[in-house]
Symmetry: C2
Subunit: 120 residues, 2 copies
DNA sequence: TTGATCTATGCCGATATCAGCATATATTGA
DNA sequence: TCAATATATGCTGATATCGGCATAGATCAA
């Protein structure tokens, strides 16, 4: 994986399932690369590359411990994602309201959908 | 944009800035493709393609109104994103705690970081 | 210093994605 | 039926991304 130049974007970083997995593992606490490799069943270089992407967007940080690097979550950047997606809460909360709204849309479609009364 | 075969994934769908823009516009209410084109300053085919992706992951739905298609948000799928990212709330809430934790890590690093007392 | 371990980087090929352009497919109205 | 409008789809080239593999760099132990 060549040095990610463009993708300094949290949304993109998190769109990768493996990277979400890595973050989920790190939520348990600091982990060395080797431990992540073991638990992900992924090759070591791939894990290092994903970690690099995560580091570049500020989602993880690393500290040296002997010959190992211990990575941990630095999740502040996820706040942007949380704030964005939270704007859509009303679309899954109050599921009953959604059903109702859907029904209304149905009605509208059948009733005044094309044109109020104008049909061949 | 060829028919997206693989990317039936909400995280990926939402990783695209334009698609988030589209959703944000649709949050104001139903919109026809043409209106989105106008407000996004993007070419019509591109908008249609992004809408298709959003539709395939269930983030929007369309209804016919004359020769136009009115798209609206169907945000229930975003719940998955919200739930995932919410697991990381502690990383940006209580900023003071974070500072404290960071300080502790610093201490650990300096104190017992490499090896308790073993240093050239 | 030498060798072993742990991690990062570089290169490769396959695939996906995006924008741009042309064009096909409705749908409406004359 | 024919033209106009609105939207969808197909094709193309440029770029990004991912995994696999080899290897470089760092650190520790003897």
């Amino acid at each position: 994986m060549a040095p990610p130049i463009v993708s300094a974007d949290v949304f993109l970083a998190v769109a990768e399932p493996r990277r979400r997995q890595i973050l989920d593992l790190l939520r348990e606490g600091e982990r060395a690369v080797g431990e992540l490799v073991e638990r992900l069943g992924l090759a070591q270089p791939q894990v290092s590359k994903h970690l690099r992407v995560l580091k570049e967007v500020g989602l993880v940080c690393a500290r040296k411990a002997g010959q190992r690097r211990l990575y941990s979550v630095q999740g502040a950047e996820l706040r942007r994602v949380h704030e964005w997606v939270s704007q859509y809460e009303r679309y899954w909360e109050h599921q009953l309201d959604r059903v109702k709204e859907r029904a209304e849309r149905e009605t509208r479609r059948r009733g005044a959908g094309n044109k109020p009364g104008g049909k061949p």
